[in-house]
Amino acid sequence: MNGAVIALLVVLGILVIGVLWFAVTYNGLIRWRNRVKNAWSQIDVQLKRRYDLIPNLVETVKGYAAHEKEVLENVTKARSACMSATGPAEAAKAENFLAGTLKSLFAVVENYPQLKANENFMQLQEELTSTENKISFARQFYNDTVMRYNTRIQQIPTNIVANICSFRAEDMFEVEAAEEREAPKVKF
């Protein structure tokens, strides 16, 4: 075999390896992008859980603290606003408002020791605490996934494939407006 044939084979070999590497990297990026999408939709799963728990909570509290009508109504109204919100910006605002009304409700419950000791209420409280945590952790996991994905598409040599195939960096879940960063005030 002469030099030219060998040279040709080497070039061919390099090309094949290059194409394979490109395909493998592309597939990896697809997997990561889908992980990001999935993590985002998992947040909604937890948010819906919260909606489902609220009617039961309102009924239990009504049984003991009937004159706290205003607080209870706020919670119910906030929940409806969440479920009918259109678009992610409006939904985020509504969610934050609902969280605020729930905090007010639990603050008010402190005045009713019988209610606090009620078995049903305690279970609900655990469920709601857990649901709030799950929403937080789902958002945390979404952010972690976005971080990993963004790092991947920015690092060499994966960024070559990312730029050619238009993989864009995703946004993290962030609290948008300054007033949302403040904890909701509780009025007695």
Partner: protein
């Protein structure tokens, strides 16, 4: 000294454990090679044969223990599987950690024992289980419980159970090889007096190889054990850092560890074989000596210090 920051802690611990694993593999390879060579009276082929034997042995043992499973571990520890209704708070805490890690929910078990401890098993997050004693469950508040569960679940998602199994098999193989060689040499030496000496091929080099092999056969098992313990300690630190990554609240785990270390009670169902899987060494005598190279867990004081440092470096800046 560099402050403990969440992400650097995780990377540092992973790197250390890979180094330990590499050293153990190197030790196993070296042992197989030298002993094989000594057996074959200096011939090259013998060395490769010894190596092949060591590796085959390891692979067989790994496969045998791979499918061994959670059920055996749980039965040995007298654990009872629970559903959400049995203990909603424990179940919720574990579920929250499953969401934070993006992994499926593990099976949850409770052990009737007043000594506080917890552990996790499972070859990967899809086949995982966590267990906690009634003693520990009663002592911890929600954040502390979550820290402990996060630590245990991190063992699974970092594949520590798999690591420990591979390390155990390698160390066991080294010990077996060395033991077999020492016995063979002992009996061989006694028999040689009655026979005429062998062909005398390369006599001087043969003796050197024999001495080297004997030294290695005595020292290698000890080194292997030390490496295994070092690995175990590194993975504990990693599990602590991973738990902090999940909860983003290292203070919870730090408080839980302090509560556990204050307790003097002995966990009945634990023994030497299972001690490395627990969050704190259940054999009290070992916990006392934890400052040394011979323990499976790092000292609790050190673990708490690192967790609190992570907490401090994680805190948001005041405007």
């Amino acid at each position: 000294m560099e402050q403990a920051y969440l992400w650097t802690q995780i990377r540092k611990n992973r790197r250390s454990s890979y180094l330990v694993m590499f050293l153990t593999t190197a030790l196993l390879v070296l042992t197989g090679y030298v002993i094989g060579m000594a057996f074959a009276r200096g011939e090259q082929a013998g060395a490769y044969l010894g190596l092949a034997f060591a590796l085959t042995l390891s692979v067989i043992l790994i496969l045998a223990t791979w499918f061994g499973g959670t059920k055996i571990m749980m039965a040995a520890s007298r654990a009872r599987r629970i559903e959400k209704k049995d203990h909603p708070r424990l179940f919720n805490v574990v579920e929250e950690m499953a969401i934070a890690s993006g992994n499926p929910m593990p099976a949850v078990y409770i052990i009737e024992d007043s000594a506080p401890n917890a552990f996790a098993t499972g070859r990967d997050p899809q086949h995982a289980a966590v267990a906690i004693t009634t003693g520990l469950l009663g002592k911890l508040d929600r954040d502390e419980l979550q820290g402990v569960m996060a630590h245990e679940m991190s063992h699974v998602r970092n594949y520590d159970i798999l690591f420990a199994m591979i390390m155990g098999v390698m160390v066991g193989s080294i010990a077996l090889l060395c033991d077999a060689f020492l016995r063979a040499t002992w009996y061989g030496a006694r028999g040689r007096r009655r026979r005429s000496s062998s062909s005398g091929k390369g006599g001087g080099a043969q003796v050197i190889i024999l001495v080297a092999a004997l030294l290695l056969a005595i020292l290698a098992p000890i080194f292997a054990k030390l490496l295994q313990l070092a690995m175990s300690r590194q993975r504990e630190y990693l599990a602590d850092a991973s738990a902090a990554e999940l909860t983003r609240y290292p203070e919870g785990l730090a408080r839980a560890l302090e509560k556990i270390s204050g307790d003097k009670e002995v966990l009945e169902a634990a023994n030497r074989a299972t001690q490395h899987l627990y969050i704190v060494n259940p054999i009290k005598a070992f916990e006392k000596r934890a400052a040394g190279a011979f323990s499976t867990h790092p000292p609790i004081g050190e673990r708490v210090r690192i967790l609190r440092e992570m907490s401090h470096t994680m805190a948001p800046r005041r405007a």
